[in-house]
């Protein structure tokens, strides 16, 4: 396997013993800035100004996202909002944040529904590999965690949120453990802590390279055992309001029955996750198939302001060969254990623990400047020198700590303990999102948000292990906050949506629910509801009916 790369692989092997002795340096502030400005996709200028909604006039929205935010709702103008389900709290999203919010509400006596367009747990959470940060080491503290994350986020993090994250770390690990999560331990029974990019002390807990899987399967099981009503295969199509700018429910679409379901709720918690499947600028993504930014679209139409959406995380180590694995995550923990990032010439061009955004930029720089490796299918990447792990830590270490990596590559006859693997940045995380306060309240009454759909906590660059902690801390917090501050039930109207529709003139429809490449659509056309699609710029009169097509271009 990888005969085509034989020459370059030879160079990597020949430079290995020298590299083992000498770590590469970290880029200084000026070098980092230059790498980011010239090579990081956030700086490529593929953005535009939004013309409608709460962020109208803001200049920097990725083109793919801007189109969705300005698009029309797939709901017909004359849609009936008569409630089908009455609940107290509606959680939208079945990943770690949604599940944590649901568990926080258990025992409150409040009726809770959790809706997900996929199945409970099918999410980015379950795909997280490397770990979760909590200040548990003796020489660590929530303040050190805070300082690390703030510097990593370029000082742009919302400090109030970040302080909560860091102070809640240890207790959240305790909570997970009580639910039955098993993290890797040292022989003395203490948690095994690793460094991650930008951590000043070891702070990352893990369950091999399946940390998100371990957390999600435990949370999923706990939710199944709770009194929460789970609506799987139910996509959130629109939020509804009381006619006075308070969110009072949502329109879901039952994929199995192919029909809309109106939910009346006293509060809605958005935990819909990120948007990696928009595949900005043609990048591959490490995200699950549902990560299409639906929550951003829904909240935006209700008047929620969005923050930092010009900032996305391109994870430096996405798989780039074989083709079938393109975009899939190769955890940072492998780099933190000593696998170096090396170019086609065998040069160790940057320290592999540089901040994610800088490292991603540096890898793109190597390939653009001709020092990358080209695969038989014309993709470019650089080497992640995985055999170094066993050389540094003893034979069998890679297989023991990273069974997921070994498992994924073995069907292609590639053994990462023996052969380096090819990597290229992959669209991984939505740094920005909905603006929320310390109680997870959005700027719109009745609407809370938590997890990747929110923005501000991580500033402009998130450190490894802070998103798994984010979804636990703020997911639970959203649940607690709703309990304390629950509005009375209000009527279900499309007032905010209609308001938004007056300003927009885009014929496209959003959310898109599934990646464009999947060609998957929700079959709204088959519903019994007669749809009267109106030209939003002219009148409220119906002019015949046609089934709405959310993918009409």
């Amino acid at each position: 396997m990888m005969e085509w790369a034989k020459e370059s692989l030879g160079k990597v092997e020949r430079s290995r013993s020298a590299r083992l002795q000498q770590p590469a340096s970290f880029p200084n502030t000026n070098e980092s800035e230059s790498i980011l400005k010239n090579f990081h996709p956030d700086y490529s200028g593929k953005e535009r100004t939004l013309v409608v909604g709460p962020n109208a006039g803001d200049k920097k929205f990725p083109l793919e996202l801007a189109d969705l935010l300005e698009a029309d709702s797939p709901l017909p103008i004359s849609y009936s909002t008569k409630p089908d389900i009455e609940t107290d709290i509606l959680i939208l999203g079945g990943g770690g944040a949604g599940a944590s919010a649901a568990l926080a509400l258990e025992g409150s006596g409040l009726k809770t529904h959790l809706a997900t367009k996929l199945r409970l747990g099918d999410s980015n959470t379950i795909m997280a590999e490397g770990g979760i940060q909590a200040a548990l080491a003796e020489n660590d503290s929530p303040r050190k965690h805070f300082a690390d994350a703030l510097v990593g986020g370029h000082g742009e993090n919302k400090t109030e949120l970040l302080r909560i994250l860091c102070e809640s770390g240890p207790e959240s690990i305790q909570w997970l453990s009580q639910h039955g999560c098993l993290f890797d331990k040292n022989s003395d029974g203490t948690f095994r802590l690793r460094k991650g990019g930008g951590t000043s002390v070891p702070r990352v807990l893990a369950c091999r390279d399946y940390t998100g899987l371990e957390i999600m399967r435990v949370l999923k099981d706990a939710v199944r055992l709770s009194s929460v009503n789970t609506l799987e295969g139910h996509a959130a199509v629109e939020l509804l309001d009381d006619g006075n700018s308070t969110v009072t429910g949502a329109v879901l679409y039952d994929r199995k029955k192919e029909s809309f379901v109106n939910v009346s709720a006293r509060a809605v918690i958005l935990a819909t996750g990120g948007s990696g499947q928009l595949r900005l600028q043609g990048f591959p993504t490490s995200n699950h198939v549902g990560a299409t930014g639906d929550g951003l679209v829904l909240a935006y139409r209700q008047g929620c302001r969005l923050l930092f959406l010009d900032s996305y995380q391109y994870h430096p180590s996405g798989a780039c060969y074989p083709e079938a694995l393109a975009g899939q995550l190769v955890t940072e923990a492998i780099r933190s254990m000593g696998a170096q990032v090396v170019n086609a010439e065998g040069d160790h061009f940057i320290n592999e623990m540089a901040y994610r955004d800088v490292l991603a930029g540096a890898i793109i720089k190597e390939t653009r400047e001709g020092r990358g490796i080209t695969t038989p299918n014309g993709k470019m990447g650089v080497w992640l020198d995985t055999p170094m792990i066993d050389l540094k830590n003893g034979e069998g270490t890679l297989a023991k700590h990273f069974p997921g990596l070994i498992h994924r590559y073995e069907r292609y006859q590639i053994n990462p303990s023996q052969t380096p693997i090819l990597i290229y940045p992959t669209l991984h995380y939505q740094n920005g999102g909905i603006s929320v306060d310390a109680k997870c309240k959005t700027e719109v009454n009745g609407l809370w948000a938590c997890g990747e759909v929110t923005g501000g906590l991580h500033g402009r660059n998130r450190l490894m292990g802070n998103s798994l902690m984010d979804i636990l801390v703020f997911g639970r917090r959203a649940g607690e906050s709703v309990k304390d501050d629950l509005p009375e039930r209000g009527p279900l109207t499309m007032t905010s949506l209609n308001q938004f529709r007056k300003t927009q003139s885009n014929k496209q429809s959003s959310p898109i629910f599934f990646p464009v490449a999947s060609k998957m659509k929700l079959k709204f056309g088959k519903t019994e509801i007669e749809t009267e699609k109106l030209d939003s710029s002219t009148s409220n009169e119906s002019n015949g009916f046609e089934p709405p097509d959310p993918f009409a271009r």
Partner: protein, 218 residues
């Protein structure tokens, strides 16, 4: 890339050699024929059974991880989730038997091990469950994605992955409670005051100093 032909539920479609089943179905406009979730091999949604053109024994796979090959026949095989069972701290083999009465019905046919897309030694682990070797079971099921195939193929209604999770969670609940140190509140407050200074640039500068000196500067 080489074009090949495969079949999904008997219907022929063309695909590129080397792409995964999921991507082939996407390109053919047949994404709804196999349920997907993560498309990264960890959620267990896209379970399928396969038959090969050359007569090799087929079997179960995850459509998002399996590359297509000439003449491959794919059949969707969605598995409904099992009912969750409350974990029990300090559980032993008898506790397991009381909540999963089918554990001893295993006839050692080995289908579960063959079906597992994560290469877990499922049948051997069921033996360990019967013995109560729960630490080893927990290790075996570290990589379990709960696709449910081991339960699906079991003719004796043994539920290996459900028991695996139950054992892992039960062990987790038996862990010694994590002690969280109470820190000197004066110092804590001083450190926060230092770090939360007004002004982005000053705050950034202080955070850098704090990181480098491992605390407040002397």
């Amino acid at each position: 890339m080489k074009k090949i032909e495969i079949k999904i539920s008997g219907k022929p479609i063309s695909a590129y050699a080397g792409e995964t089943i999921v991507h082939a179905l996407w390109a053919a406009g047949m994404s709804e024929s196999v349920q997907t979730g993560c498309a990264g091999g960890v959620c267990g949604a896209c379970t399928v059974t396969l038959r090969y053109a050359d007569g090799r024994p087929g079997g179960t796979e995850l459509a998002c991880m399996k590359p297509v090959e000439e003449g491959m026949e794919i059949f969707p095989c969605p598995v409904e989730p099992d009912k969750a069972v409350e974990p029990v701290a300090n559980a032993d083999a008898l506790t397991l038997q009381s909540v999963f009465p089918t554990v001893n019905r295993c006839t050692k046919c080995g289908s579960c091990t063959t079906a597992c897309p994560m290469s877990i030694p499922v049948m051997d682990s069921v033996m360990r469950m019967q013995e109560g070797s729960f630490d080893k079971v927990a290790e075996d099921f570290t990589t379990c994605i709960h696709c449910g195939l081991c339960r699906f193929v079991c003719e004796d209604k043994v539920k290996p992955h459900s028991m695996g999770l139950w054992i892992r969670r039960s062990l987790g609940k038996s862990q010694v409670e994590l002690k969280i140190d109470v820190e000197n509140s004066d110092r804590v407050e001083k450190e926060w005051q230092y770090l939360l200074v007004e002004g982005k640039q000053e705050r950034m500068q202080r955070a850098k100093i704090f990181r480098e000196s491992g605390g407040l500067p002397e």
